[in-house]
């Protein structure tokens, strides 16, 4: 049996307090094991991004717990073990492609020359080595998102998370980005979780987890894999995507 990378137990996330509180996610319980390819699907506002950010350690749950048994405490997640590709273009505008991709390694204290070489390798992996000196503004949307994938890969992650990576791309570019993600995950053996509402993207992945109004359905009926009951105190007004 594969090792569990991230484990969510009855996780909920509420934004704000009082009457304006917004319940984005509630009672989500799931495990992501090494090597799995999961599509997190659901309509806009269903809580996909919220769950992804909790898995990435970018946000903290208001209820429940998130653990990373194969990695360690939350401080150990980044830079390195967890790679994230964001929903919108997320390259650092003043830095060129090479510097963008090398950034996670530089933040981890890697020697700049080694970091640059590793960035070149990551870019070559997804076929963008010739863009190393370009600025983000000089890339197309698809290229920029593939560079973001390279950046997520450069730290040799065990968990690759992508939040609507093709949301603003045409089909051709979207396909290239998904190819890059899947190929990278297969090569590195990392678990891959992609939040998307695009069925074409979802079809490229093995497992489909559904989110609706903040409730997660992993398609597994065992108690460990099912979502919890919605909260009774504060019904969700509008869940976030």
């Amino acid at each position: 049996m594969n090792a569990t990378i991230v484990s969510c137990c009855d996780v909920g996330r509420t934004y704000g307090t009082g009457p304006t509180a917004l319940v984005a996610l509630h009672g989500a319980t799931c495990d992501v094991d090494a090597g799995r390819r999961i599509a997190l699907v659901g309509p806009s506002g269903s809580g996909k991004s919220t769950l992804l950010h909790l898995m990435a350690g970018l946000d903290r749950p208001t209820v429940g717990t998130v653990d990373w048994p194969a990695i360690g405490p939350i401080e150990a997640l980044r830079p390195g073990p967890v790679g994230v590709v964001f929903q919108r273009l997320s390259l650092l505008a003043p830095l060129d492609v090479g510097e963008n991709v090398a950034m996670p390694l530089l933040l981890a204290g890697t020697d700049p020359t080694e970091a640059h070489d590793a960035a070149l390798v990551a870019l070559a992996t997804i076929g963008l080595a010739d863009l190393v000196d370009k600025l983000p503004e000089e890339l197309s949307g698809g290229q920029a998102q593939r560079v973001a994938v390279a950046r997520a890969l450069v730290g040799r992650p065990v968990l690759l998370l992508a939040d609507e990576p093709t949301g603003q791309l045409d089909h051709e570019s979207a396909a290239a980005v998904v190819d890059a993600l899947v190929d990278a995950a297969e090569r590195s053996g990392a678990a891959l979780v992609v939040a998307t509402h695009d069925p074409i993207v979802a079809d490229r992945l093995d497992d489909h987890w559904h989110l609706h109004d903040g409730a997660l359905d992993t398609g597994d009926s065992s108690p460990r894999r099912t979502t919890g009951a919605p909260p009774t105190t504060a019904p969700p007004q509008e869940a976030r995507s």
Binding site: S49, A56, P79, V84, F86, L91, L95, T110, L135, E137
Partner: protein, 882 residues
């Protein structure tokens, strides 16, 4: 309808963007409106002081053949005239007196006949020095020439040879002798160079006894003037008051139809005041304008920080089908909203500032308020409306979303605009310096005065050129400085050094903008504060020059004291030094001039001698020369010119000998030119070594003592000395001189303006450093959010933030100090005419500048702390939503 909905949306959901931009505009509007208020108050002060200085508003002289009674009636019935009294001006051939063993005889002089109520009506004309206050009163210099005292008899020789004996009742001074003995109706250049030396005042009845028989056969032996006071309910602006008074005088002359001419003393004084007022207007506007421009630039920076979001809004509207025209309308509506809010807030702020900061009841004229508000609206149009309009017309949806473009040199840089501006500035400065910086032009015979705004072009071009030059240097330096930046950054952040350097290099346009804003603000703060400090310094010097020292003790006529009496005066507790100064009269050829005998080694113990007072050497050099070569003499530039003197030439003066009481020749050696000297008149005078004068004349009598009060209040010392010395001397404190200096610009209390401008400069300096950095970070919130999401620790985020903060702040402040130094020097040179006397050196207000520095550094530290904290706590939703 769409526009209204858009405005409502902006106000409700873009509150920060609207409020911060409006606040920037409000600062500029408030600055201009408060300066307007201060200018109005200053002009009113100038008018009031001018009016107060005039002892006799009009001197209406009855022309030969005219009946003085008719002229008097015409003047009394002239609207605006409150009092009018006739004064007889009788010529005399000589005054003779024999108070001792010798007989003294003067040349021609004047016998004035004053009505009984004259002194009550015109209290500023006559000042009592000794003896009675009515009867036969002898002018101080006449008494000195004749060596008479109250009780002595003077024989007056009238035209035609008639003589009459007059018994001296008192000795008086005529502070306004120049105007009292003016040639009525003659232009300024044709006026007598000096008032008559020999003057005696007698009661009107006595005067008529003496002159009525003579004028019956010789009408030219005497004239009658009608001395007049006017209703002083004049406009507060000196120019308007001048026009008002001149109009009244012209009206009277028309009514007199040639029987009388008006000597308009009030208009003459207001004429000088209106020049000063124009100076003030130029000065205040010129000092305030950079502040308003800076406020506009800061506003533009604020607006630019919101540009991405605005472009995003526009792109969204365009995708929903909005036309370019609709987008432009919305942009203009936003500009109008911001402009109106800013203008209203600025005017309200100005009202509050004026009420709190200005001691007088000043209020900005409606013209200033409208102009300030108008400038606010134009600023809003330029910094908000124009970029939005440009984007709406030029950007497509993709372009609107771009956040950064590859940094190329701006077009102005390629054309060398900064160097052109600096070159032009130097050219204009050189050109205007040749004309002696006559900023306010008042051509003789032309009623209109004007300002030579051309002279201000030099500093303005320098300001703009310096700003652009800093931009170029920052841009080029960052563009080519990747390696040294990397080395510097690596030393503090290790492997991230190269990336930090890359970020700095690629954002050089943004950083250059911030650095230039900081630099220009610091330049503004320095140039404004240095100018204000120098202005205060020169105002103090002016007062010191007029009074002579903190306290001046002037001996009354007939009172003879020697230099040793300084010890008695110096016994007053708390004094810094007491210096005796001889005051005599000496003939230079046929010209009688004031002669000051000083002790060259110790004169500076009691007063200040500035280099600007002299030509031919510094103050120290020339005093040393007077000490080393006791027969040295300093004379006026006019004397040098008239007598074609060269250094080392022998100058023979005639001084009164203390033993024979006769004027005898004494040889001196011309050593230099004295333009100004403490207590000396503004026209020709002589400065020499007191010991040499005493040796040559056998008389060491002291005319006045100059007292340095040290840390003690001069008024307290003056009061003590008055008690100690009684009526034997006149004691004046420096504060009294400040009040009577008159309407000259340095006499205007700039305290309110200083508080306003320095307050604004301080706020702008702190705002520019903090705001510029803060806005720069706001513009790149996403950059820091992404860094944080990638796993950057607080220390690593700080490296990025601090690298920019240090570059912008240290670079900006350093550049600002250099620019401030250059601009201050040029400003003070250009505004030399404002200072009287011209400053020897600029004054540097170190405390204020330290406060500016501290405020800027504090603003930077606070901004960096907030930015790092916020970047470290960026939520992932920010990345998704922005």
């Amino acid at each position: 309808m769409t526009t209204l909905a858009w405005i409502r949306g902006l106000l409700a959901r873009r509150t920060g963007r609207i409020a911060s931009t409006a606040a920037g505009i409000a600062v500029g509007v408030a600055l201009l409106a408060t300066i307007g208020a201060f200018l109005g108050a200053s002009k009113a002060t100038m008018t009031q002081r001018s009016i107060a200085r005039v002892a006799v508003d009009w001197q209406v002289e009855a022309q030969p053949g005219a009946d003085p009674g008719t002229v008097l009636d015409a003047v009394r019935t002239q609207p605006g005239v409150t009092d009018a009294v006739p004064v007889g001006y009788g010529h005399t051939d000589a005054f003779t007196a024999a108070p001792g063993a010798t007989t003294q005889t003067t040349g021609p002089g004047f016998l004035l006949g004053l009505p009984a109520d004259y002194r009550a009506t015109f209290p500023g004309v006559v000042r009592d020095l000794a003896g009675a206050t009515n009867g036969v009163l002898v002018a101080q210099q006449t008494a000195a020439n004749l060596r008479v005292a109250p009780g002595d008899t003077i024989t007056t020789t009238l035209p035609g040879g008639t003589t009459s004996d007059l018994t001296v009742a008192g000795i008086i001074d005529l502070p306004t002798a120049d105007s009292l003995f003016q040639q009525v109706g003659a232009p300024v250049g044709a006026q007598p160079q000096a008032p008559p030396d020999n003057v005696i005042l007698v009661p009107a009845a006595r005067w008529h006894q003496l002159y009525d028989p003579i004028t019956a056969t010789d009408p030219g032996a005497a004239t009658t003037q009608v001395h007049t006071t006017l209703d002083h309910g004049l406009p507060t602006d000196p120019a308007a008051a001048y026009a008002d008074v001149t109009g009244q005088a012209n009206n009277l002359e028309t009514r007199l139809a040639g029987s009388g001419l008006v000597g308009d003393n009030l208009a003459a004084t207001l004429d000088a005041a209106r020049s000063d007022a124009l100076y003030a207007q130029v000065l205040f506007v010129f000092l305030g304008l950079p502040g308003a421009v800076l406020a506009a630039m800061l506003t533009a920076a604020v607006a630019a920080a919101a540009a991405d979001r605005r472009r995003g809004d526009q792109a969204l509207l365009r995708t929903r089908g909005a036309t370019t025209g609709q987008l432009v309308r919305l942009a203009l509506a936003e500009a109008a909203t911001v402009g109106i809010l800013g203008a209203v807030a600025g005017l309200v702020a100005a009202w509050v500032i004026v009420a709190v900061a200005l001691p007088t009841s000043a209020a900005a004229g409606i013209g200033w308020q409208v102009a300030a508000a108008g400038i606010g609206l134009v600023t809003a149009g330029l910094v908000v409306g124009w970029p939005a309009w440009r984007d709406a017309r030029e950007l497509n949806v993709v372009g609107a979303r771009r956040r950064i473009v590859r940094d190329t040199s701006p077009r102005w840089m390629r054309y060398g605009l900064d160097l052109i501006l600096l070159g032009l500035s130097g050219l204009v400065f050189w050109s205007t310096s040749r004309t002696g910086y006559k900023l306010v032009l008042a051509p003789e015979g032309t009623p209109q005065i004007s300002v030579d705004y051309w002279a201000f072009t030099g500093p303005a071009l320098l300001w703009a050129g310096i700003g652009l030059l800093w931009w170029r240097l920052t841009h080029v330096g960052l563009g080519h400085g990747h390696r040294p930046l990397t080395s510097a950054a690596t030393a503090s952040v290790g492997s991230l050094g190269g990336t930090v350097a890359s970020a700095l290099t690629r954002q050089r346009r943004l950083l250059a903008r911030g650095l230039v804003l900081v630099a220009l603000t610091v330049t503004f703060a320095i140039s404004t504060s240095v100018f204000n400090a120098t202005y205060r310094q020169q105002a103090e010097v002016d007062a010191l020059l007029t009074n002579g020292a903190d306290v001046a003790v002037t001996e009354s006529p007939g009172v003879v004291v020697g230099p040793d009496d300084a010890t008695e005066i110096g016994a007053t507790p708390g004094l810094g030094g007491v210096e005796p100064v001889q005051h005599r009269f000496a003939y230079v050829g046929s010209d009688l001039q004031d002669l000051y005998g000083v002790r060259p080694d110790t004169i500076v113990d009691a007063t200040q001698l500035q280099d600007a007072y002299f030509q031919g050497g510094t103050a120290r050099d020339l005093m040393a020369r007077l000490g080393d070569q006791p027969d040295s003499v300093l004379v006026s530039a006019e004397t040098v010119r008239d007598f074609q003197l060269h250094p080392g030439d022998q100058v023979t003066l005639r001084l009164q000998d203390g033993r024979t009481k006769q004027y005898s020749p004494v040889d001196f050696t011309y050593a230099g030119v004295a333009l100004e000297f403490p207590t000396a008149p503004s026209d020709s005078f002589i400065v020499a070594n007191a010991d040499y004068i005493a040796e040559q004349t056998g008389n060491d009598a002291i005319g006045s003592f100059l007292v340095d009060t040290g840390s003690t209040d001069p008024t307290v010392v003056a009061n003590d000395l008055r008690t100690q010395l009684g009526t034997s001397a006149q004691v004046t404190a420096i504060g009294e001189s400040r009040r009577v200096i008159g309407s000259s610009l340095t006499a205007v209390d700039l305290g309110g303006l200083t508080r306003i401008e320095l307050g604004f400069a301080l706020v702008l300096a702190a705002a520019s450093t903090g705001l510029v950095l803060g806005l720069g970070f706001v513009e790149r919130r996403r950059f820091f959010a992404i860094l944080s999401a990638l796993g950057a620790r607080g220390r690593q985020l700080s490296a990025f933030v601090w690298s920019e903060a240090i570059l912008v702040t240290v670079g900006g402040i350093t550049a600002g100090i250099l620019g401030g130094w250059a601009l201050s020097g040029m400003l003070i040179k250009v505004l030399t005419g404002v200072f009287d006397p011209a400053p020897s050196s600029i004054a540097i207000p170190t405390t204020y500048l330290a406060a500016v520095l501290a405020a800027s550094v504090a603003a930077v530290v606070a901004t960096v702390a907030v930015v790092v904290r916020r970047a470290s706590h960026t939520t992932p939703t920010f990345l998704r939503d922005n």
